[in-house]
């Protein structure tokens, strides 16, 4: 008994001592990648730029230190290579701390890279446990991703945070690695991501440009701002949007309606046995945010007209988005998935030709808008009572 205790004590202490702290990485021996840009170089090599956090500059606590980093909150490291892992190794050789990607919040692909195809880089991103699936993916429209990371964006602690926050605001596609993979692997759907440009007129700042749609892991085209809005409404994902319309009672002036809530429901009906008919039912709740007419919007008649007009406007945007997608033959809406979920056997029959079929698929869009709020007043405040059209 006594011997057994002794042996087990010895074993435990040996296990503790010999194993030591084998995985131990002190927090200040780790370089935290905040964003990565992946581009395609002219000789068809991958180029990666990694933005690593400089903690002392980021913290509000230790500002008084001034340890010679010029207040730069991030540090960029650049490498090129044939595979992502090569890039990683090359970047590590330039970085004095162990590179850790578990806090990376953003991956930017240059447009060239995205058009070339992401199939080669996506494997590492899905394989390595160090990658966070909540990382946002965006495409730098018409430019290299690396340029993005070098942009100075003073209001945020580090520039990539700006894009992340913009994404989270709900104008954009909000595509994370996880959603990208889901869309890329589901039958009958294709991934889409937000595209950004740099607004260069004044100070260079990021600007959401639209949505880029993929087909077979390759960027095939982009939706502009209006189409993107229609697209996001069809997905039911839109959080912030606005529609500017004119109504019959005052055909010269604009009324802008903020879209507050969108509910979207695709309906699949089989016709002639195996012809799926798809239609979208959009329920939108809006709020008047600007009224340049002389109308008193307290009158329900105008609101009814407004509902009609906004419905038409949204319908137009949605149709435009759909048409664009069909021209790219990329079913980023996941219409195929909706069919597959309802009629898996039938979808399997034409799954291979779905991109071609999608391009010709008739999709009905029915929009039902309810403008529920008109703001603090009916007519414009500047108008005299007799100028207002009740």
């Amino acid at each position: 008994m006594k011997q057994r205790t002794r042996i087990s004590l010895l074993a435990v202490s040996l296990a503790l001592m010999t194993s030591g702290c084998w995985d131990r990485r002190e927090i200040n021996d780790v370089g935290f990648a905040l964003a990565t840009a992946i581009d395609l170089s002219e000789d068809q090599q991958f180029e990666a730029t990694v933005q690593v956090a400089v903690p002392t500059a980021l913290s509000p606590v230790s500002k008084q230190g001034g340890s010679g980093n010029n207040g730069q909150s991030v540090m960029s490291i650049h490498a090129s290579g044939g595979t992502i892992d090569q890039l990683r190794a090359r970047i590590q050789k330039q970085l004095s701390r162990r590179l850790n990607t578990s806090h990376r919040r953003l991956i930017v692909f240059g447009e060239d890279m995205a058009r070339h195809g992401l199939e080669d880089v996506m494997d590492e991103l899905s394989r390595s446990p160090a990658n966070r699936l909540r990382t946002f993916i965006v495409v730098a429209k018409g430019m290299r991703g690396a340029e993005f990371l070098d942009t100075h964006y003073p209001i945020e602690a580090y520039p990539s945070e700006a894009i992340r926050e913009l994404e989270k605001m709900g104008f954009g596609a909000e595509t994370t690695l996880r959603e990208f993979f889901i869309a890329a692997t589901l039958p009958g759907s294709e991934p889409y991501v937000s595209t950004y440009t740099l607004e260069k007129d004044h100070n260079p700042v990021f600007q959401l440009q639209g949505i880029g749609v993929f087909k077979d892991m390759k960027l095939v085209g982009t939706l502009d701002r209006q189409e993107a809005q229609g697209f996001l409404m069809l997905l039911g994902k839109l959080k912030v949007g606005e529609v500017t319309v004119r109504i019959p009672s005052s055909p010269q002036d604009d009324i802008t309606v903020q879209v507050k809530k969108v509910k979207s429901k695709p309906n699949v009906i089989l016709q002639n046995g195996n012809q799926p008919q798809v239609s979208y039912q959009l329920d939108v709740v809006g709020e008047v945010s600007e009224n340049t007419t002389v109308l008193d919007l307290m009158n329900p008649k105008y609101i009814a007209e407004l509902d009609q007009a906004v419905s038409a406007g949204i319908q137009k945007q949605a149709q435009a988005a759909l048409k664009k997608l069909q021209s790219y033959k990329s079913d980023a809406l996941g219409i195929g998935t909706a069919i597959y979920r309802q009629e898996p056997v039938i979808f399997d029959q034409f799954a291979d030709q779905w991109p071609q079929l999608f391009a010709k698929q008739q999709v009905g869009i029915e929009v039902n808008v309810q403008v529920r709020q008109i703001g603090m007043l009916g007519p414009q405040l500047r108008l005299r009572d007799k100028e207002v059209k009740k």
Partner: protein, 495 residues
């Protein structure tokens, strides 16, 4: 020495100056032993143990003209037959009247009853609740308990433990509630004690507890008579030891150690909420530094990015690994706490000022310790004082260190290993035959009403099954107060 004389009969031959010599011999040359003659005999007493005034008034005055038993006006007069008895009486503060030619002597108890006033217990203070605490005087402590339980079924069994100190130990229980097995067990454990002296109840605690190697207390100690009374009402057993204000209450369970007396004196919702705060902070006091160490050195991906960057920035300048930092700070904190307890009161303030500097701002500004660690240590320190039983808090504080080391070497895995070992240990612990984790493990649903929550008194109708199974019912049903129903004439009972 005294043992030699124990069996000697005082009246071996008629009491006379010879037996006085014998008594003198027993006490040696102690200068406080006085033998004063009176007409027809001698008074023997220890000057330091008796009340001089009472000696004069109740004894000396009455026997001025010779000894007559019925003239002694003391409440405690005992005929004494043996030397052992006589010695003990003298030691306890009696005046021993040795009358020439009589077969027996008389002990008149006129002991000095010096004790400090009944004060608020300093280790278990309450906001609402009785303020009286035990003192060092056993009789006074018994009075405090008896006053709360005015029933003949409160039984007091007194015995003497300690060969030299001959300390009085009183075993208290409530007849009719207490489980006979428990009582038998406590009695038999007390009987096995053979020790030279008992200076504090911990001597007894360590000699009768179930798992002598465990850090977790299986016997509760308390300074509060109301806690003792509450325990007796549940069917538990209490030991009061002369010379210490700390009474022992047994058995004690893990959950019992987390119940404060005030839980029963404040509204049950608040008591329940506070109990949960205690549970939470129990874990914080055990684990917080370990989790900090594990996450910052192994699992950085678990922190939110902004928090991570703040921690990283704060740790940037610090020279020690997080593990060393944590151990350093925790040891410093414990040292400060110990110094605070031990230091003479006038210097206490100096310690708190210097201490605040050492484990505070100065250490951070000097770049020796990172700021988050100071926060961690501070929270842990506060957490460990939320545990109502001080000695239970000790266990948590001590176990913190091995778990920090495990966390620093194996990460969260190490913490889990540590917790598993702890859990196994706790599951194996027993207190006088009752599983330490009862009523949660083994599960007794009705017992949980006073563990995870504190139900209102009108719902606490039964005693804890573990100790009070002999007489489970505390009160009849249907005592929930309700406004009078307008229709019921005879005051209908609320559901």
């Amino acid at each position: 020495m005294p043992r030699k004389h124990r069996r000697r009969q005082l009246n071996e031959n008629a009491l006379n100056s010879q037996s006085l010599d014998e008594l003198k011999q027993i006490f040696g040359e102690s200068t406080d032993l006085l033998i004063r003659p009176f007409p027809g005999g001698h008074v023997v007493y220890l000057r330091t143990q008796i009340d001089q005034v009472r000696l004069e008034e109740t004894v000396l005055e009455r026997i001025r003209h010779g000894f007559q038993l019925d003239r002694i006006s003391s409440a405690y007069v005992l005929p004494v037959h043996t030397f052992a008895q006589a010695t003990q009486e003298v030691l306890d503060g009696s005046a021993l009247l040795v009358v020439d030619g009589q077969q027996e002597a008389y002990a008149v108890r006129i002991n000095l009853t010096e004790h400090r006033a009944i004060e608020e217990p300093s280790t278990e203070s309450v906001i609402r609740g009785p303020r009286s605490g035990f003192t060092e005087e056993l009789d006074l402590n018994l009075y405090l308990v008896r006053k709360r339980m005015r029933t003949p079924s409160l039984r007091v069994e007194e015995q003497i433990i300690g060969e030299i100190t001959r300390t009085r130990v009183a075993l208290l229980y409530e007849e009719g509630i207490v489980e006979p097995n428990l009582l038998r067990e406590v009695r038999s454990r007390l009987q096995t004690i053979k020790i030279d002296g008992v200076l504090e109840s911990n001597y007894i605690e360590e000699l009768i507890q179930d798992s002598p190697f465990s850090m977790f207390p299986t016997i509760q100690n308390t300074e509060r008579p109301d806690v003792v009374a509450g325990a007796l009402l549940e069917g538990r057993v209490a030991l009061l030891v002369d010379g210490t204000p700390f009474a022992l209450v047994m058995p004690l369970t893990f959950w019992g150690a987390l119940q404060a007396s005030e839980d029963y004196y404040s509204h049950y919702t608040i008591a329940t909420a506070i109990r949960w705060i205690r549970f939470t902070f129990l874990f914080i006091s055990l684990l917080f530094p370990s989790i900090y160490v594990a996450i910052t050195t192994f699992h950085q991906e678990m922190l939110p990015t902004n928090l991570l960057l703040s921690v990283a920035a704060a740790r940037e300048g610090s020279p020690f690994p997080a593990l060393v930092e944590a151990l350093l700070m925790e040891v410093t904190f414990e040292a400060l706490r110990e110094a605070g307890v031990r230091l003479p009161k006038p210097v206490g303030q100096a310690v708190s000022i210097v201490g605040a500097l050492v484990i505070g701002q100065a250490a951070v500004e000097a770049g020796i310790i990172s700021a988050p660690m100071v926060i961690v240590v501070a929270i842990t320190g506060i957490a460990s004082f939320t545990i109502p039983r001080y000695n239970f808090g000790y266990a948590m504080r001590l176990l913190r260190f091995p778990i920090i080391i495990l966390a620093g070497s194996l990460g969260l895995f190490g913490i889990v290993v540590g917790l598993m070992l702890l859990l196994i240990h706790l599951c194996g612990l027993r207190s006088f035959g009752i599983p330490y984790l009862a009523p949660l493990a083994p599960l007794s649903l009705s017992g949980l009403k006073d563990v995870l929550v504190r139900v209102p008194h009108w719902m606490m109708r039964s005693r804890p099954r573990q100790v009070g199974k002999r007489n489970l019912q505390r009160m009849p049903a249907g005592q929930r107060p309700a406004p009078p129903t307008p229709h019921a004439e005879g005051g209908g009972e609320a559901e």
